[in-house]
Amino acid sequence: MPFREKSAWVMSLALLSAGIFYFIAVAVIWNESGQLAHPMLPLVIVYTICLTIIAALGHAIIAALAPKEANAPADERELKIIYSAGHYSSHIFAVGTLLSLGWYLFSGDGDLLFYTVFASFMAGQIMEYAIQIFLYRTSI
């Protein structure tokens, strides 16, 4: 498995874990208070720290296993895969954001807007790495 595919697995895992943590925390607060909580900065900070730690640790491990590959620049096929994945995932983020904005026009709920745009961002990021893995394993 090439280093960049391993890196995509690490990032997928990091984003998925941090995202699940974030939305479980939001669901717990929602359940306890009986209403959707305002977006909280501490929760976003914890999400960012979790994401950073998992990504950094994961990359340190895979880089230690293949230091030469880790230091090599991406080759032409890898760059093509990275650009394609970024292109497709940007559509996911854009559609999610547009749907969120459309929903906001009817509901007027700014808190919900924050969560849905944040979720779209997370989905776009996760899909970017998932598409990279798919392309590494199949076409291109």
Binding site: P2, E69, A72, D75, E76, R77, Y136, I140
Partner: protein, 71 residues
């Protein structure tokens, strides 16, 4: 509608003729990863013109001796 054209290659054959050069060695020579060499050999990826010339140069043959167009 015309059939999708594809580029075929003899990279694997030429590599084996060159003292059983490994995919990793060829990758190192042309500046791509072993996985990219595998993808080229399996016709899953068509290399850039620059890489195609590099491959031909490594084997000391012309571009058309390595790559061919098949309808």
């Amino acid at each position: 509608m015309a059939n999708k054209p594809s580029i075929k290659n003899r990279v694997r054959e030429l590599r084996e003729q060159h003292g059983s050069m490994t995919q990793a060695e060829l990758g190192l020579e042309i500046g791509v990863t072993r996985q990219t060499v595998i993808a080229i050999e399996q016709n899953r990826y068509s290399p850039s013109l620059e890489s195609a010339f590099r491959i031909a140069h490594v084997f000391g043959v012309g571009l058309e001796d390595v790559f061919s167009w098949e309808e």
